[in-house]
């Protein structure tokens, strides 16, 4: 249920993301989801890929600073109030969200969440019958 997410430090310079995308593409690695957090100097590219170990290897060979973090992916209906319900549960359980990002397709939405207490977060969401999807499912989306 826990999903491995890669974070890559990138300087705010033209073409940096292009190079990462190209490296992963050439290695036959697919990106399922990504987001970029940035300030004026640098950005942190967070992404979920089809082959985490291989991606780490390829990126480190090219001297990128890569770290791995566990995240969860909430699978919920793509409709008003669905996310609010999940967030209320998380907040009520005293879990703090470091960051999150989402993508939706048709009737379903996927929300990737990085909580400060990942076990507790997964536990309360499951208890409340919310669906968390596994990495293997995410990669197939």
């Amino acid at each position: 249920m826990l999903i491995k997410q890669l974070s890559i430090f990138l300087e705010n310079k033209k073409g940096r993301f292009t190079e990462v995308a190209k490296l992963l593409g050439e290695a036959g690695i697919n990106m399922s989801a990504f987001t970029v957090s940035e300030n004026s100097d640098f950005g942190i590219l967070r992404l979920i890929v089809s082959d985490t170990d291989k991606a780490i290897q390829v990126l480190r060979e090219h001297l990128y600073a890569v770290s791995v973090a566990d995240v969860i992916c909430l699978h919920c209906p793509n409709q008003p109030g669905a996310l609010a319900k999940a967030m209320e549960i998380i907040t009520a359980a005293g879990v703090f969200v470091e960051y999150m990002y989402a993508f939706s397709e048709g009737a379903a939405a996927n929300v990737i969440i990085r909580p400060d207490n990942i076990e507790r977060c997964a536990e309360v969401l499951t208890e409340n019958k919310l669906e968390l999807i596994a990495a293997s499912e995410l990669y197939r989306l």
Partner: protein, 433 residues
């Protein structure tokens, strides 16, 4: 182990006597054989007879780097060119290079000085030493080379560059020693780490590092990363080259071989000698050099001298760490900034790599002070807050030490250029425009 116990452990009194004899001789030699020094002394109303003891040295005129440039290439030679057997030159980043000539005897004294350093570091005739200083006009390579041969060790004359091969041969030959600049040693350490060859497979035990100032934190880092003892070897082309002094096993000051290279510390502004032990600019007089004697040569290196007997048993005067160069000092928004201050902060923060680049510029009539740093791989975080906290931490530390707020720019791993020789830590764009 001492290479030359008589000299290295001589009583201060005896050393002063020896220095007095040799000073008289070198002043005599310079006066009679160097038009440059004769003119300088005559302008001050000095004759060789005015110099009787080493204490009289303060009467003599100073020599500065510009004098070497003005007399380019051979104007300061004090012997016929037929006596000169070797030339070296220091890379002139501004203007002409400076050229130094050695007689056969000068080369012998230089090798003697390097030998004393090598013994103080713990080398002997059984050891393989990889010399990764540049060979050529630069004194580093050939200077260390001659020293290793003189003590009967085995020299691996690698010169600088070709880093993969450096590591391969160091590994395959089982080099016990590495001689290069501290910044290149750091680069070699990183390359060894990335090569995947376990450090235990190397025989490396001792590093002889010099040709650029380095800090105590840099020493710790090199000793840890290479599993060695790292020693300072000090020198400058104008005086002979590496080996003017070297540390001993106490790692508490660099012993200067003052029977050949007499050190003084002066106030760089008033040019007066400072009280013993006080900081100031290091000045050398070569007491035995024939080819190109240097009288009271101003090194621009800022340091202090320690005259107490060392725990290693040597009485030879010690030089403290070089705090910077009086001409390396940057004046940014009116504040005096030494790159060594920045370096010491970066090295004491475990989150950052030892490589850095200071970029000074002037934008809208205001000086900018940017420092590029690399975060160590294990400290890169996926959380923006943590990365910004790292940036704030180093900003505050540097501001408190330097007195000026830097604009810290965290750059990608290994994007700061690694140096094969002397590291370039400062780009002052104000000078370019």
């Amino acid at each position: 182990m001492y290479w030359n116990e008589t000299i290295e452990c001589m009583s201060r009194d005896e050393m002063r006597k020896l220095q007095s004899i040799r000073l008289r001789r070198v002043v005599e030699h310079a006066y009679h054989n160097s038009p440059f020094y004769r003119k300088k002394m005559q302008e001050m109303g000095l004759e060789p007879g005015d110099i009787q003891t080493i204490d009289d040295i303060v009467k003599l005129p100073f020599t500065v780097k510009q004098d070497l440039r003005d007399n380019y290439p051979f104007g300061l030679m004090a012997v016929p060119m037929s006596e000169i057997v070797r030339l070296h030159a220091s890379s002139g980043t501004t203007g002409k290079p400076i050229v130094v000539g050695y007689t056969r005897k000068d080369l012998g004294i230089w090798a003697e000085a390097v030998s004393r350093c090598l013994y103080a570091f713990g080398f002997n005739r059984n050891d393989l030493v990889q010399v990764s200083y540049g060979y050529g006009l630069f004194t580093g390579g050939l200077g260390l080379h001659a020293g290793v041969e003189n003590i009967g060790g085995t020299v691996i004359p690698m010169s600088s560059g070709n880093t993969q091969k450096q590591i391969q041969l160091m590994h395959d030959f089982g080099a016990k020693g590495l001689a290069c600049t501290p910044s290149y040693a750091l680069y070699l350490a990183e390359t060894i780490h990335n090569s995947g060859i376990p450090l235990e497979e190397f025989q490396l035990r001792i590093g002889a590092f010099g040709a650029e100032p380095w800090t105590e934190n840099m020493r710790k880092e090199l000793e840890e990363k290479l599993n060695i003892k790292a020693y300072d070897i000090y020198g400058l082309t104008e005086i002979s080259g590496p080996g003017v002094g070297g540390e001993c096993e106490c790692q508490n000051g660099t012993h200067l071989w003052e029977d050949h290279f007499f050190p003084e510390i002066i106030d760089p502004v008033t040019l007066q000698p400072v009280e013993p032990g006080q900081e100031g600019e290091l000045v050398f007089t070569t007491l035995t050099k024939e080819g190109m004697p240097m009288i009271r040569y101003r090194t621009r290196d800022l340091t202090h001298l320690i005259y107490d007997k060392c725990d290693c048993g040597r009485t030879a005067v010690r030089m403290g760490r070089i705090l910077g160069r009086s001409d390396d000092m940057l004046i940014i928004r009116g504040v005096n900034v030494f790159p060594s201050q920045v370096e010491s902060v970066i090295l004491e923060l475990p989150e950052f790599e030892a490589h850095y680049l200071i970029i000074v510029d002037r934008v809208n009539n205001t000086d900018t002070f940017q420092i590029q740093v690399e975060v160590r791989p294990e400290y890169y975080s996926d959380e923006m807050n943590k990365m910004l906290a790292l940036k704030k931490k180093i900003t505050n530390r540097i501001q408190s030490v330097v007195g000026l707020q830097p604009d810290i720019k965290i750059v990608e791993p290994r994007s700061i250029e690694r140096s094969m020789g002397k590291a370039k830590h400062v780009i002052d764009k104000r000078k370019l425009s």
